[in-house]
Amino acid sequence: MSLLQAVRLAWETIRVQKLKSFFTVIGVTIGVTFLIAVVSIVAGMSRYMKDDLIGKIIAVNSFSLRRTPDFQVGDVTQATRAEWRRRPRIYDSDVQPVADVLPSDILWATQSEDNVTLESSYAKSRVSDASAVSSGWFDLKHMGVTDGRLISPQEYQLGTPVVVIGKDVADHFFPNLNPIGRVLTIHDLPYTVVGVAESQGSIFGQSLDKFVVAPEKSPLKRLLVQHGTIDAMIIQAPSDDRMRDAMESVRAVMRGRHHLHPSQPDNFALETSESALDFWNNIQKYLTIAGVALPTVGLVVGAIVIMNIMLVAVAERTREIGIRKALGARRRDILNQFLVESATLSTLGAALGVALGIGFAKLIAAVSPLPAAVAVWSIFVGVGIGAGVGMMAGIYPASRAALLDPIAAMRQET
């Protein structure tokens, strides 16, 4: 009996018992469904992370100088936290010495950030993110305005209480109005709106446009950080190599300023987008392991179910097997017949699982901020798993069938 014939025979047998066949492979179907769904969601998140998210939060070829890192790979121990608390802050006075070692085509800016309460005459007060920044900041962030203008050099120089606001802030605090020239009150001090920033989009459904930005020298900074300090200095180079050179120069300066011995580690953080990516890759690794391990358990159960049902099928069809052998079926013909039947069943179950998994992933992508990218390779893997599981589950029942004595088998009652 050729393979094609065996598959046709299997198909006929399965077709006649659709419901029973479905329940036979349900374990495999569910296992593959979740496997595909998890792989798709993790792949989608990964792509989103690398392309969209990381790029939005941390500009390319840039690094930041901070007191403690923003992204940490692995667990942070008590000891680490204690050490972090002992670290000196980044001071205003550190800025110029660092800037001095940077070549002129390297962009830099300082940033101090925290949440503040905003008020206007036109809407309820709300808490929002606020930053006090130096003059290179908008350039570095590639941020422009859709309305009004950016902060002017004079305003940076004088510390004038002006703000550039995000689109969400404009919509909430100045509904149906032009915010330019109007006043936004931050902790009882008035700030004049000079510009509305371009929309920054959103991450996982959360809007990135809920912010205000004021010059560093304005009173806002005092609300955000301890006097005389900043949160971070962000530095951007034209290329990765130049960035790394710049990092080392800055490291040298800061180590000097902190009077560090060569044997002592840095007591400040120099962070690139890599740290953020490492952070994500770690999460992704664990997500993938869990996401693959659990469906695998389902597949093992599914295989056991298939094996048991095939054993019953062989017992019920003993007479048929005897007849086939009497007519000339060899052991391997009978073995193939049942192996192919088992593998076909399981593959169909896996194909259904792939379809359900893709549907499930798309559903999740549609109703939640999680993205899902269906990887084509996972479809082939899913179907391959189906065939493999079916064959393994079917070996024992098929060999039992193949070894039946035709004379005894034909005596069985139907």
Binding site: M1, S2, Q5, E12, T13, V16, R319, E320, G322, I323, R324, K325, A326, L327, G328, A329, R330, R331, R332, D333, D405, P406, I407, M410, T414
Partner: protein, 265 residues
Amino acid sequence: MSSHTVEAPLSETAERRAVTGAPGATPDNRWVIVTRGIKREYDMGGEVVRALRGVDLAISRNEYVAIMGPSGSGKSTLMNIVGCLDTPNAGEYWLNGQLVSTMTDDALARVRNKEIGFVFQTFNLLPRATALHNVELPLVYAGIGSDERRRRAKLALEKVQLENRMDHRPNELSGGQRQRVAIARALVNDPSMLLADEPTGNLDSGTSEEIMRVFETLASSGQTVVMVTHEPDIAAHARRVVVLRDGLISTDEKREAFTSRLGAS
């Protein structure tokens, strides 16, 4: 299969002399079945049951032979061995000049497929397949392609006058029709013999006669037919009756053809 011990064969000259009805000859093309000294024993929980104690049988081409015997005579065991479903503990069996008594399971399967056309008392058709597909089954295991299979299966069904029922399933056919499908299936691979085990056992007397007429027609057109039965009425249709008793051949008689019995049909 139950446990097997095999005795050593006789020398070649002794073989030749021992072959019944073929003095001094090696089994040649004239003989479909030649058995010599067939013994078959079973171990039933410590006790040894000797089903066959040394059977010598020779059946030539175109013979129509009935094998009779009471229950326990060993006729079923002999039929299984003749049909290559079982191998003897001792003795030889040449089927169409091939020594099959020591063949492997796979080799026996091939021989069954090509040389033996089984017809069973309980029909033994696949219940979920059409008549046509049932008849095609031996060709499937012979590796014949699907167009050729259909052609040959239809021809076989025509021989038993059932070509208009070929898409029916067994449960849509009468007992007599089912047995005719089984006969068509037995013929489809052009076997050396039809081996029928109580073919009318599950049929009423009218249908039984109908089926026996089919066998007669086939025998007349040159088919070798071996029929195992315990009913003398059925055995009477054959040209030769071999009677088994206690694992040995007790009588082996040739008879005249019963054309008068069959009437014009």
